[in-house]
Amino acid sequence: MRTRNFVLVPLIGLLGACGGPQTSQVNNPQANTSNESRAEDQAAASNLEARVSVGDAAKIMHARHEGMETIGKDFKALHREFDSPTPNLALVRTAAGQIAGLSRQASGWFPEGTGPEAGKTGAKPEIWKPENKADFAAKLAAFQRTAAAFNATTTRGDVGAMKTRYADLGGACKACHDKYRTEMHH
């Protein structure tokens, strides 16, 4: 378990290094300037209204898929650590930081035209329905807020607080996935 984690930390770092620049290239300027205070502002938290070309849509969907996959891997690694009585805090900090960073990039992951009509994706078309846009933006903002809050707790040594914030983050992931992600999306 412990030796696995030593392998996992650089691996996750590597994934971030690969996904990072590629992801920011396809994000629109609005997304790149978004930060935690912007995340509080639900209207600015996502680029749902933006329209993208077909080529950009493919790039964004790829970045979104890679980003979500990395977040999932980080979240699984974190779950192992928090199930353990002696979590590896270095690994926790690395994973939490990466999730927080990707959550900010997620602002640029859902422009109009990147739904199932554009290709294989787990994103439901409901995301872009007018009646859901505010709700989806609020859920994305909650993801960014809880990811930042969790990341902040990991700089201190209180594992109990980390677990609470980690659970909040998981709740934010689940609330959005339950409603806006299809079950069969591999």
């Binding site: 979240f75 699984k76 192992r80 353990s84």
Partner: protein
Amino acid sequence: MSRQISHGDAPLSAGRAAAQPVWDLPVRLVHWTLAGLIAFSWWSVHNHHTDWHIWSGCAILTLLIFRLLWGFLGSSTARFSSFVRGPAGVRDYLRGRWNGIGHTPLGALSVIALFGAVAVQVGLGLVSEDEDGLFTGPLSGLVSIDASDTARGIHEFWFENVIVPLIVLHVAAIIFYRLRGKHLTKPMITGRAIVDPATKPMRPAKWWVALICLAVSIGVVRWVVAGAPPFGHWTPPS
């Protein structure tokens, strides 16, 4: 559990035998609870209640361990030694050379297949984790993340390609026997069936043996749910 008292749902009219005990209460309870929990497990995981799905799996594990113990200590018709037969036994049954109560040699194959398939399914679930890392099985900490993901993949495959076909076969067999005039569902509810008076009657087990089996199975599952310490630790979903 089932006492051999002389009452039955069939009237004791001349020329007709009374319904005799064939299934004890633990066998019937395990059967229907298992059926209900399998349905609930399927529903809950497809309706965003993965936490309930995990608890349902733990309850199924309890039933499996109980039934395994009951297969050695239970009433005569519950015991593996009374119904597990080799190919020769199955052949004899198919040629009409079998007379008894409890599982037929062919039905026993179905019981073993279902029991084994559900045991594999529970085992896979114990070490699985969900796609997002939100939920882990109690023993997932004993294996790598990749192994957990692989286990989840097989867990899904196993349900669709093994468990469901076996359930379909099970229900189809019951319908087949029903069309041939043999009722199997009612005895699994009441525990009694009209049997040939010459048949050796069911030998019931003591009720307190069932309680001991239940206590042991709950104890083992309690340990599993803790993550099987000292080998692992598990924090249940809140």
